[in-house]
């Protein structure tokens, strides 16, 4: 489609006369209006499809017993087939909006059919089963996107793919001991790999001028923006810095996924460069971005062990009987049912064991539980008055309360001392771990003033790179004529400003800081309300021209 400026230029150069120019402008405007109107009705039809899916999902969850199982399955499978068939016929008859909605509806009904069958056969409700259902869904819906030429199904399958990857990965880490460091870096790795795979696919599609190119571009940008966003948090940098490749978080599935994505990326770019050597520049820029990201991740090592809390070791942090027994006296732990537990009346689940507890603990068996002997346990006057003498209980205002002054127990004194001793080694990982019964928690630091310079430096550099990447994305969106990418770039820019603003609000406290931040925030919002829509309009107009020229 040609734009107004182009027509004026042709008129000026004498390529077309005034009459032709007027007619062309009229045609161009009417086509544009028709396109916008079609798009609007397509969106309405798609909302309709989503509503139908929500309704059917609700009916499945109702699990109506009066309808025989095979009838339920038959209804859903035939609805799936009918939706796809009518969708294809509607497209033939030029009802594009309805066709798109029905093909999406077919994909959704297929997904619901899988859930219905797993309900009928009472299949597992664990994460692995969800992962299987999602795998069977995204693969088939991905095929429908190509076979039935459906942008919506491609979007649906990319979303399901993303959920599948995360769930399948989490299944493999379910049995891990809590390992925050490893988990953050592995999620970054998942997003990076998925982004690279999508870039490979977008290059491949671009080289054959496929209409799905911009969809892949959008999701590539999305995944990379997520990674940059994660790396823009000051609190997360010290946590990432403690990653080790020996961590159990690097599961077999993760390695398989990274290899698969790398292969997809390589195949995509090889195909693209073979078909169109000009794409090499874009590919090299993309590899440059990956290198920058990897440098950002590896550079966190400069701040390793400098930010964190030195906490007292707790019984539940210990995973072996020998160590548990070693700290028995200091931390009041006991090895029970293969766990290291704090000595407590609740650890005993039968009356005999409960009544025979020795040492500082005083337990009693009440209402099928072993509880610590306490005045509050008694809820009538007689029991209260007959309580053990050392408890000094008294019935007052319908409650049994103790009249004894609170004196810290040996256990409470010991735990408090441990806490004070370990706290001295906050932000000093090596010294913390060399202390007896102290444990290091990276990143958990509430004393902002003690954040080392290197972390501030890395954080500022990361945020500058992040802003630079957003600007690059907005420029890229314009270059390739994708309004969605431009909108995504602008959206993330606003999100970044909001996040940093909230961050400053949390970091800087006090009346003056509060009032300054409120005033600056207000000015930013008013300025943003004027500037962002203006900028967005301008960018979208330019992008639209580019898109029209491409058409």
């Amino acid at each position: 489609m040609v734009d107004e400026n182009q027509i004026k230029e042709w008129l000026k150069q004498g390529i077309i006369n005034k009459e032709q120019a007027t007619q062309m402008l009229k045609d161009s405007t009417s086509k544009k209006n028709e396109k916008e109107s079609n798009e609007f009705f397509s969106i309405i039809a798609i909302i309709g499809a989503v509503l139908i899916l929500v309704g059917i999902a609700w009916l499945i969850a109702w699990n109506w017993d009066d309808i025989p199982d095979f009838v339920k399955v038959l209804i859903l499978i035939s609805s799936t087939i009918i939706a796809f068939t009518i969708g294809v016929i509607a497209r033939e008859k030029n009802h594009e909006g309805v066709a798109r909605a029905l093909i999406l509806l077919g994909a959704g009904l297929y997904l619901l059919s899988l859930f219905l069958i797993s309900q009928i056969y009472n299949l597992a409700t664990n994460l692995q089963h969800y992962a299987w259902i999602l795998f069977l869904s995204w693969t088939v819906i991905y095929l429908t996107a190509y076979f039935l030429d459906s942008k919506e199904n491609l979007l649906f399958s990319i979303i399901l793919f993303f959920i599948w990857v995360v769930i399948q990965y989490v299944v493999g880490t379910e049995n891990l001991i809590y390992n925050e460091e490893g988990l953050i870096i592995t999620f970054i790795l998942i997003f990076l790999s998925a982004g690279s795979l999508l870039f490979g696919l977008s290059s491949l599609h671009h080289s054959i001028q496929h209409k799905f190119t911009n969809m892949y571009r959008f999701w590539t940008v999305f995944y990379f923006l997520v990674v940059f966003y994660i790396l823009s948090f000051q609190q997360i940098l010290p946590i990432i810095s403690e990653y080790t490749f020996e961590s159990g978080a690097f599961t077999g599935f993760l390695i398989f996924f990274v290899i698969l994505c790398t292969i997809g990326f390589i195949v995509g770019i090889l195909f693209a460069t073979n078909k169109n050597p000009n794409s090499l520049k874009e590919i090299l820029s993309f590899i440059g971005i990956i290198v920058v990201l990897l440098i950002m991740i590896f550079s966190t090592k400069f701040g390793a062990g400098l930010v964190g809390t030195c906490n007292p070791l707790y019984c539940y942090n210990i995973d072996n009987a020998a160590k548990c027994n070693d700290v028995k006296e200091d931390l009041f732990c006991e090895w029970k049912n293969n766990y290291c537990m704090e000595v407590s009346c609740y650890n005993y689940n039968n009356e005999i064991e409960c009544n025979n507890v020795q040492g500082d603990l005083s337990c009693e068996w009440r209402g099928n539980y072993c509880t610590e002997t306490n005045c509050y346990n008694y809820n009538n006057e007689t029991e209260c008055n007959n309580a053990l003498e050392n408890l000094s209980c008294e019935w007052r205002d319908n409650y049994c309360i103790t009249t004894k002054n609170w004196i810290a127990t040996k256990k409470e004194i010991s735990l408090q001392q441990n806490y004070e001793r370990c706290e001295l080694y906050n932000n000093q990982k090596d010294n913390c771990l060399s202390q007896e019964n102290c444990d290091w928690n990276a990143g958990q630091n509430y004393y902002k003033s003690s954040i080392p310079l290197i972390i501030w430096f890395l954080w500022i550099v990361n945020n500058i790179i992040f802003i630079g990447f957003i600007l690059l994305i907005i420029w890229y969106g314009q270059k390739v004529g994708s309004e969605n990418i431009v909108n995504l770039g602008l959206g993330v820019f606003i999100l970044d400003i909001l996040t940093r603003y909230i961050g400053f609000w949390m970091d800087l406290q006090g009346y003056l800081a509060f009032s300054l931040l409120a005033i600056i925030g207000g000015i930013l919002l008013i300025f943003g309300a004027w500037f962002v829509p203006k900028l967005r309009r301008k960018l979208l107009e330019q992008t639209q021209q580019k898109e029209d020229n491409l058409i």
């Binding site: 969850a61 699990n63 017993d65 069958i117 309900q119 009472n122 039935l148 293969n338």
Partner: protein, 172 residues
């Protein structure tokens, strides 16, 4: 025939193939499997996509780990019927037994000498708001020659369970 219709037929065939295979895989033990009855200890949660269900913990869900099984390892639990008709654990094996009653599970957790095993029959879906007893429940399952079990029905005091349904209203 037009290219679009050929593609449509291809996608319908793929979908039918996957859905029918999924059904057959789960239906097979019900058709050819051996019937076993297992003792239970149920609770009652909700699944957003499949509705209300009962979470069933079997007597054979927690067993003594005498053979040092590891997490995610396959385990064949060899069963023997007692005088009440309930199938209880007789032995454990890493390999599929050639004959007799057995069920295949996967070790999910190991605590010292005990381990928790899942058999894929730990849930029973039922109509929303229907009333089900949660005590004296036993489960009838069918197990095929590979030890793959599918839950068939629920027994209350040894008899097929009669579910009490809530009266249906359009606003319910």
């Amino acid at each position: 025939m037009k290219k679009e219709y050929i593609r449509l037929i291809a996608i319908i065939l793929i979908i039918l193939f996957i859905l029918i295979s999924f059904i057959i895989y789960n239906q097979l033990p019900l058709l050819i499997g051996k019937k076993i009855i297992l003792a239970t200890n149920p609770v009652d949660p909700f699944d957003p996509f499949r509705g209300q269900y009962m979470n069933i913990n079997y007597e054979i869900s927690t067993l003594e780990n005498t053979q040092k099984f590891e997490i995610n390892e396959k385990v064949y639990v060899i069963l023997k019927e007692d005088e009440e008709g309930i199938f209880r654990m007789q032995d454990l094996s890493r390999n599929r037994p050639d004959e007799g009653f057995f069920i295949r599970g996967e070790v999910k957790r190991v605590y010292g000498n005990t381990m928790s095993i899942e058999y894929g029959i730990e849930q029973y879906f039922f109509e929303k708001s229907a009333k089900l007893p949660t005590i004296n429940i036993t489960i009838v399952a069918k197990v095929d020659n590979f030890g793959h079990a599918v839950l068939k029905e629920m027994l209350y005091n040894g008899k097929p369970l009669e579910i009490e349904y809530k009266e249906f209203k359009i606003t319910s």
